[in-house]
């Protein structure tokens, strides 16, 4: 009787061990999957990315210099616009909100041209091809320079994990304001006015 009991216990024990092994394997696989899901954050798509929903703030900093090729093949540098208020707008052909504000930019560019205001549109999706970029820019009625990004300029401006992203640069080359996402037309105009006004007092005597 005792032998039967011991034998029974052994069978139960082995069965339990087998179950534990199988359960462990299953749990490990699921845990691996979950770990892998989280792991992707360790490999950022672009260097310089920050935490969720956040992006590096560039306000108050000197605008990083760049030299890029325009859609019509010209070399355009930010330095070419030294002493002028400039709006640097990053956009992409797949970005709906970007395409909404581009005609507004065009309108404000004409409106504030007398104050030296200029806009540079930086296409963040060069892989879409020049033709697609030109098509979207033309459809939006854009005549300001559209520049093709080189992968470096995005990082210099903080990694750009949100589009549209705009940097309002005053006459002294300082970023007065940085905006992410689509704002209202009134907000955009107010920021342009602020950018034109910024640095103008220090420039007044000299120019």
């Amino acid at each position: 009787m005792r032998r039967v009991l011991i034998l029974g216990m052994m069978v139960v024990g082995v069965a339990l061990l087998l179950w534990a092994g199988w359960h462990n394997l299953r749990e490990r696989r699921l845990a691996m999957q979950q770990a892998r899901d989280k792991q992707i954050v360790l490999i950022p798509a672009k260097p310089g990315e920050e935490g969720e929903g956040g992006f590096p703030q560039m306000r108050g900093k000197p605008a990083p210099a760049f030299s890029l090729t325009s859609l019509d093949g010209k070399e355009v540098s930010l330095a070419d616009y030294k002493g002028r208020p400039v709006l640097v707008n990053f956009w992409a052909t797949w970005c709906g909100p970007c395409k909404v504000e581009m005609p507004w930019f065009e309108e404000f560019r004409k409106q504030y041209a007398a104050q030296g205001f200029e806009i540079l549109g930086l296409a963040d999706d060069v892989d879409a091809g020049k033709d697609a970029i030109a098509k979207v820019a033309n459809k939006a009625g854009v005549t300001y320079p559209i520049l093709l990004t080189d992968g470096k300029v995005q990082n210099a401006y903080g990694g750009l994990d949100v589009l549209p992203m705009s940097f309002y640069i005053d006459r002294n080359g300082v970023i007065v304001e940085q905006t992410a996402g689509l704002g209202s037309k009134d907000q955009i105009e107010a920021t342009i006015k602020k950018t034109i006004a910024s640095g103008s007092t220090t420039q007044a005597g000299g120019q």
């Binding site: 061990l17 490990r28 892998r36 992707i40 798509a45 797949w94 949100v162 589009l163």
Partner: protein
């Protein structure tokens, strides 16, 4: 003998605990806007079956469907890597729903929001298999868009 058994059982369970412990990774903030629900898929060995991959789009976000209405938009696309013992056919995508940005009601988009399921027809040999795949998508919220992302997923297929 009884004591031995008990010791054996205890040792076995502590191994389980130890192995589980090493795999519990700390939660890290993610920049993804779509997540994958990892579920083991049980299919019949050697038979045509369908594996369902369930994805969830973050609240407040949308991604283009597999067939967006403009060639400029980036479609949601699943790429399966070859896996030994599993023959997978082209994924089948759900239809999207119509969506327009409030600031541009004239442009109709075709998007996924909430949860969506991609079905993959497979024939798997008996046994447990792991199929690696990548979901490429591009997300937007109501005022901004986010660069295209690649979400690596691992599909566990158990063919019996």
């Amino acid at each position: 003998m009884r004591n031995l058994l008990l010791v054996g059982l205890l040792a076995g369970s502590s191994v389980v605990q130890a192995q589980m412990g090493t795999l519990t990774t700390p939660t890290v903030k993610t920049k993804q806007y779509v997540s994958f629900a990892a579920e083991e898929q049980v299919v019949k060995a050697g038979k045509k079956s369908v594996v369902e991959l369930r994805f969830k789009v973050g609240e407040g976000f949308h991604v283009n469907s597999h067939t967006p209405k403009s060639e400029l938009l980036i479609p949601t696309n699943l790429t399966l890597k070859p896996a030994a013992g599993v023959t997978a056919s082209a994924p089948e995508y759900p239809a999207g729903t119509s969506y327009s940005f409030s600031f541009d009601p004239s442009e109709k988009l075709d998007v996924y929001t909430g949860t969506f399921t991609v079905k993959v027809p497979v024939v798997a040999e008996a046994g447990a298999h792991t199929v690696d795949a990548v979901l490429r998508y591009q997300a937007c919220d109501n005022a901004a868009c986010y660069p295209p992302k690649s979400l690596p997923v691992q599909v566990l297929v158990n063919a019996k």
